[in-house]
């Protein structure tokens, strides 16, 4: 009796309660303001409307989406580009033993460093490079967290590639670059995709550096745009819900893709 009915029932109820805020968000995004600025507990609208989505388009939401996409893909690409050779070297080359330990210590230090702690010197770095208030600058500073995470994840995937494939290619006279591109990368593709997904989520959601290093509204990413709407102390809930829904959809879709590596990815990287 317990196993067949009550246990599943309990699970469904608990899951439903946990999802309430999300259901509220989706519902509110299609509610006319008169319905959500009221003392009712209806989650779904009586008269659905798309007015908030229309308003977002007028607010140049597309520009912010494009900024977010550019930063997410840019920083993911840079992290893979610099991180893959490093991960490969840490696994395959006979480096001094200490280097491994130094890298691990490094990952730990970065994990421990609050973003705000590095922000003041990073501000100077960006100012010197002339990258303050630019998306390029954000892509660069996101490497603070993206790069160690990318290396840490890819070390595991490089280990899974058997050395014998590479040795075979070496016999055929393939140089290092050729081996990396034609042997190691193709075998690692699933791992690369998983790593990319986590890197994309990391940058797509990042807030602190976007807040501190971007001032021009047209360069805002989605999280900073949302923050300006939140702190304007008005009840823009319809618009906030619509934008929340829009910015969450791609993430939820991506997570569906990498269910297997979830624990490792999350434990290492996000938030």
């Amino acid at each position: 009796m317990w196993h067949k009915i009550f246990h599943p029932l309990l699970v469904y109820i608990v899951t439903g309660v946990i999802l309430l805020p999300l259901i509220w968000m989706v519902g509110t995004s299609v509610k006319p303001p008169i319905e959500y600025v009221s003392p009712t507990i209806n989650l779904l609208p009586d008269t659905p409307t798309l007015v908030h989505y229309r308003q977002l388009i007028e607010d140049d939401i597309l520009g912010k989406v494009l900024n977010s996409l550019a930063v997410a893909f840019g920083s993911t690409f840079l992290a893979l580009l610099a991180g893959f050779p490093a991960a490969y070297a840490l696994v395959r080359l006979r480096l001094p033993k200490r280097l491994d330990k130094i890298f691990l210590l490094f990952v730990l230090v970065i994990k421990l460093s609050p973003p705000i702690v590095l922000a003041i010197p990073l501000y100077q770095v960006l100012r010197t490079l002339g990258l303050l208030d630019t998306l390029m600058g954000l892509i660069l500073v996101y490497q603070v967290y993206a790069l160690p995470f990318a290396i840490w994840m890819m070390i595991g995937f490089v280990r899974d590639v058997s050395v014998s494939y590479e040795e075979a290619a070496l016999m055929d006279g393939a140089g290092l670059f050729a081996r990396l591109v034609t042997v190691v990368l193709p075998i690692m593709t699933p791992g690369l995709i998983a790593t990319s997904v986590f890197l994309l989520i990391l940058s797509w959601n990042e807030f602190v550096y976007a807040l501190l290093f971007i001032q021009t509204p047209s360069t805002f990413t989605l999280p900073t745009y949302i923050a300006t709407l939140i702190t304007e102390d008005e009840t823009f809930w319809g618009r906030l819900s619509a934008i929340g829904f829009i910015s969450s959809l791609p993430i939820l879709a991506l997570v569906g893709m990498v269910q297997k590596g979830l624990t490792r990815g999350f434990a290492g990287g996000l938030k």
Binding site: I41, P121, L122
Partner: protein, 290 residues
């Protein structure tokens, strides 16, 4: 496969350069700045030795922020591990729709923190917020979730709990699934009740996973910034001012870069100590299991 030194420089070079520019330099620069008094921004820095440290340790705002951060970290970590454990135990057994329930339970964790705070700020609204509407619906009086000094911190913990319990849930679920079924069978043969099995077998075996979850969550809770920024701004009064918020205000609102760097150094040291305590416990636990 042995390779000349040149190759390793080529492969490690880009990553090392980025590390140096974005982490080693800023950390070193921050450490140096912490011994300087700055006028406005980075200009007119003057070496003053440990005076910033002395000042901080006697600054009641800093001490309050430290205390707030510690109490937030404790409350968040404990509640998140507890909820994660309950969810993991609940889902560890088979039931119809399990493949769908697990990703649904993870959903809050992958959302942007700004989306999460947008939702909860609306929920906490006094007049029309969902939570107060709910209280009114069952004839209770509404509360000032974010503006009552005694409640604001709890409200922050609640948001953090909702967003990050999925992480502890995932870690503990992985832990539960790594326990061999034979372990349970022996106990069941001896006639142990389900709750006896839970207390004498499952929970002790889960301790390393619980410590790992607690470690990750306390490191992150200790850094909390964005939720405070968007939900309370540190208020009411100083009630939810955390260390990250304190450093942010000093550095980016009052432009006291020297003092902000000092607070930042103190933060890293405290976070390091925190991590060391856990690391020692986790290692001890591992050697006991092994």
């Amino acid at each position: 496969m042995k390779r000349p030194r040149f190759t390793s420089i080529l492969l490690l070079g880009p990553a090392a350069a980025l590390f140096a520019l974005l982490t080693i330099y800023p950390l070193g620069r921050g450490l140096i700045l912490s011994f300087f008094m700055t006028e406005y921004g980075f200009e007119g820095a003057k070496f003053i030795g440990g005076e910033n440290y002395q000042y901080l340790l006697s600054d009641s705002f800093f001490l309050q922020a430290t205390w707030n951060t510690i109490s937030f970290t404790l409350m968040a970590t404990i509640s998140e591990v507890a909820l994660g454990l309950m969810l993991a135990l609940m889902v560890s057994r088979r039931f119809p729709g399990r493949w769908l329930v697990i990703p649904m339970l993870i959903a809050p964790f992958v959302l942007s923190t700004m989306v999460v705070t947008a939702i909860w700020r609306a929920w906490f609204h006094y007049d029309f917020g969902f939570l107060n509407n709910l209280l009114r619906a069952v004839s209770l009086s509404p509360v000032e979730w974010l503006f009552d000094p005694n409640l604001a911190m709890i409200s922050l913990v609640l948001v953090d709990l909702w967003q990050t319990a999925p992480l502890t849930f995932l870690i503990l679920l992985a832990g539960l699934q790594s326990i061999q079924p034979e372990t349970y069978e022996a106990a069941r043969m001896d006639g142990a009740s389900p709750s006896q099995v839970l207390i004498t077998i499952t929970l002790p075996l889960l301790v390393p996973h619980m410590l790992l979850a607690a470690l990750l969550r306390s490191i992150d809770s200790f850094k909390i910034f964005d939720k405070v920024y968007a939900l309370t701004g540190g208020g009411p009064g100083m009630a939810t001012e955390t260390l990250s918020m304190y450093v942010y205000k000093l550095g980016f609102r009052f432009f006291d870069v020297g003092l902000a760097s000092t607070a930042a150094v103190v933060m890293i040291v405290v976070a390091g100590l925190l991590a060391a305590i856990y690391a020692v416990n986790i290692l001890k636990g591992q050697s006991r299991v092994a």
